[in-house]
């Protein structure tokens, strides 16, 4: 694989503060990051920041200008004109950058620039497709995602390539839509390795509140996989918080008692796989998944997010992005990003029609289906 030297990486961000994804990712390229048992630093590479809209000097940005020579640029065109790579990060609670901003980047970046969008590409599938088309027309390499897609797993497992899967489930916590974005970025890298790859999603269903538990009793989603996923959690809530005890949360019937405003999304994939996304605030405070193969094996793990303030899942993401920027080869197919965007758009409709199936023909089309390279 051919690689290129990186001379300039530009961050185009809508907010910057300590602990934001923008700060976490920018610092990895500005000051370095731990990687495979050593500290890695990009030598000879300028890091520039364009804050959009430009605001008064921020102390944390100024600190980086003074300490590490961060290049602050108020003009977007100038900021990206000579960049080898551009990282676009919207506001943290939105998961998606401003469409105008992304479009400006794609219209002004030079050919062969590698662009990474933190979160999702656009608020709608149509808009995301337009962004992809624009990037392709200008020979810009585009991808999107979050660190959850590449973070550590406990245990360090993966679905063997080509194994047929029957069921998949991920439990997350957090507010909508951030939790849903993380759930999709956490689960899709696991299930897209199944036989014939990702086939697309033909319909979705949404449950909330008590309806979730009744649906579980009816077998609409697999309780056995919830049990397996919960067994991987290091942060169960309820009695463990009160007095440190371990607990079979599901077996003891504690999950419905603890869950605060739970949300459940069920995705029917075109190849028959059923995926369940559960947002269980109040039950666990970490991300865990379980999948079942057609042969009945269950594979489960925690998507381990190292503690703050460092949050070294961003070091993992930085390593993946550095390879992308150097090689021009996106770390995953763009269809994964289109599927995530389309599902989030469908979730908006789904949440208004709870317990009813929503057909998603545009997400079940061959244009969305993809296989990851062997």
């Amino acid at each position: 694989m051919t690689t290129r030297a990186l001379r300039k990486i530009t961050f185009v961000v809508e907010e910057f503060g300590v602990g934001t994804p923008a700060q976490q990712l920018l610092d990895r390229f500005l000051i370095g990051y731990p990687h495979e048992g050593a500290f890695r630093k990009l030598e000879g590479c300028r890091v520039a920041l364009h804050l959009a809209p430009p605001e008064a000097a921020d102390a944390e940005i100024t600190r980086r200008v003074q300490d590490f020579g961060l290049d602050r640029e108020s003009n977007l065109e100038r900021a990206i004109a000579d960049a080898d790579a551009v990282v676009i990060i919207g506001r943290e609670h939105m998961c998606v950058p401003s469409e105008t901003l992304l479009k400006s980047v794609l219209q002004n970046a030079a050919a062969n620039t590698a662009c990474f969008v933190h979160g999702v590409l656009a608020p709608t599938l149509q808009s995301a497709k337009e962004m992809v088309a624009l990037a392709e027309s200008r020979h810009i390499l585009l991808t999107a995602g979050t660190a959850t897609a590449v973070t550590y797993r406990l245990p360090d497992v993966d679905v063997p390539m080509g194994v047929p899967l029957q069921e998949a489930l991920i439990v997350v916590q957090g507010a909508y839509p951030v939790a849903e974005v993380e759930a999709l970025h956490g689960l899709l890298p696991v299930i897209e390795r199944r036989r014939n790859g990702e086939s697309g999603v033909k319909r979705i269903r949404f449950f909330q509140g008590r309806d979730i538990w009744q649906a579980g009793e009816r077998g609409v989603w697999p309780q056995s996989l919830l049990a397996s996923a919960l067994s991987r959690s290091d942060r169960p809530q309820g009695d463990p918080v009160a007095d440190g005890r371990t607990q079979d949360l599901l077996g003891l019937g504690r999950v419905p008692q603890l869950a605060q405003h739970p949300r459940c999304w069920i995705l029917e994939h075109r190849d028959g796989l059923r995926s369940t996304l559960l947002d269980l605030d109040g039950v666990v405070a970490d991300f865990n998944f379980a999948v079942q193969t057609n042969a009945g094996q269950i594979i489960s793990a925690q998507l381990h997010r190292p503690p703050g303030p460092a949050q070294h899942q961003f070091s993992r993401l930085a390593a993946v992005l550095e390879t992308f920027f150097r090689t021009g080869k996106p770390p995953w197919p763009i269809q994964r990003n289109l599927l995530v965007t389309g599902l989030l758009e469908a979730f908006v409709q789904g949440s208004a029609r709870k317990d009813k199936s929503i057909e998603t023909p545009e997400l079940g089309s061959r244009a969305i289906a993809y296989r990851i390279p062997m």
Binding site: P34, P155, S231, D234, T246, G296, A301, G308
Partner: protein, 442 residues
């Protein structure tokens, strides 16, 4: 056995019965050869055999005390191999030395029907005259105990152990014993405990949970690796967390070519002397930065969420550093760095002879309440104890903990005598590790 005890034995309630079915199946799965990382198997048919009994002898039971973690894993179960696992044995009795205001022993006893006995003998005999349990856990950590002039907390682990072995001797039989953390605060007592286990012929397991917890990445050293130096960086204090760091290093070091041969000298230093010693040791500094690169908590300067540390930053952030420099009898070196203020986790690096290659990992300690709600690094420890009670197998030789206990004691002594290097002829502890490392990987 008391009348009450017999009745309880013969009439399991429904919860216990259902639990035993699940446990049998899970136990079968959890020991099955088919298991690979993250994969659980279909259940096998349960076997209807009487459940074994264990006793826990503890200093104190309060939220997040070690005894609380062990007790709850036996009575509530815990996450293991992708399922909620319930041990295939019964926590039959407790002996608890201290009952503070925030005691949880009585609450657990009441809720789970586990009797607290006023004596260790009572807990082991279940109130009768003979040993009536199949395994004993000695959890002598936490509680209000005096410190000696060297700063060692005088936990009564040796005293507890001797009371346990007295019951064994009186009963004419012995059962497996687990001792949490280092063995005792005097070398002669540590050596006697191991000798007693040999003399009475019972499986004896001891030490820290660090060697058996997750590793990030999940690396192991092949037996016979030509390792020449090991280093662990961690946090915590002398006679407290140093044992965890020493066990972190030793579970790797013992896999070197020739196995463990024992320790020749221990030199503990603190403050500026740490940096002076490191300045003279280039390979050790290389290992230090490799280990720091596995840390997820390396403290950054103000305004930054992490550090790319250099020596100047280490000196600034680790304000009261402590280091143990350990020479083994075969020339092998171990270094332990207690860098409070710089890191809040346990990382390991080892130097391969000849190639200069470094192997490194984090031994992951999901510590509540800072980072988690459960101290799940106890899960593999408890699972190994269960296995030992079921079939007598130990996951690693007790000599590992004998050696790390000895190094801990001599490091304390080295600091007490003014940071002098101590020759340690007592620590000629040689042993061979088991082929399979016992860390958590599935």
């Amino acid at each position: 056995m008391t009348k009450e005890g017999k009745a309880a034995d013969s009439q399991w309630n429904r919860r216990e019965f259902v639990s035993s079915l699940a446990t049998s199946a899970v136990a079968a799965a959890s020991t099955g050869a088919l298991l690979t990382a993250g994969v659980s198997c279909a259940h096998k048919a349960p076997r209807f055999t009487p459940r074994k009994k264990v006793a826990i002898v503890a200093t104190i039971v309060r939220k997040y005390s070690h005894a609380q973690h062990f007790i709850d894993r036996f009575v509530e179960g815990y996450g293991w191999h992708g399922q909620h696992h319930r041990p295939a044995m019964e926590l039959a009795s407790l002996y608890v030395d201290q009952f503070p205001e925030n005691d949880l022993a009585r609450e657990r006893s009441s809720r789970h029907g586990v009797r607290i006995y006023p004596t260790i003998e009572g807990a082991l005999t279940l109130g009768g005259s003979d040993l009536a349990v199949d395994g004993v856990l000695i959890i002598g950590e936490h509680g209000n105990y005096a410190k000696n002039e060297k700063g060692q907390t005088l936990y009564p682990r040796y005293k507890f152990f001797k009371e346990v072995t007295n019951v064994f001797e009186k009963s004419g039989r012995a059962v497996p014993v687990f001792n949490d953390k280092h063995l005792s605060t005097r070398w002669s007592e540590c050596a006697e405990m191991v000798a007693d286990s040999k003399r009475l012929g019972f499986p004896f397991m001891a030490g820290s949970s660090l060697p058996v917890t997750w590793r990030i990445p999940a690396i192991d050293l092949p037996l016979g690796t030509p390792l020449e130096e090991s280093l662990c960086i961690c946090y915590g204090g002398v006679d407290h967390y140093d044992i965890h760091g020493l066990e972190t290093a030793q579970c790797m070091s013992e896999r070197r070519a020739g196995g463990e041969v024992g320790v020749k000298s221990v030199h503990a230093v603190k403050g500026q002397e740490v940096w002076a010693m490191l300045k003279e040791r280039e390979p050790t500094r290389r290992l230090m930065f490799a280990a720091l690169a596995r840390s997820h908590t390396c403290q950054g300067p103000p305004g930054y969420t992490y550090a790319i540390p250099d020596m100047a930053w280490c000196r600034k952030a680790a304000t009261n550093p402590i280091a143990y420099f350990i020479e083994h009898l075969d020339g092998f070196k171990t270094t332990l760095l207690l860098f409070n203020g710089l890191v809040d986790d346990f990382t390991y690096a080892g130097l391969i002879k000849g190639t200069g290659e470094i192997v490194s990992c984090q031994m992951y300690l999901p510590m509540p309440p800072r980072y988690t709600t459960l101290a799940n690094f106890f899960n593999p420890q408890v699972n190994h104890i269960e296995q030992m009670v079921l079939d007598g197998t130990v996951p690693y030789p007790v000599e590992r903990t004998l050696l790390t206990s000895g190094v801990t004691l001599f490091a304390v002594e080295s600091l007490y005598q003014g940071q002098v290097k101590l020759e340690t002829p007592e620590l000629k502890v040689n042993y061979q590790p088991l082929a399979k490392s016992a860390f958590w990987r599935a």
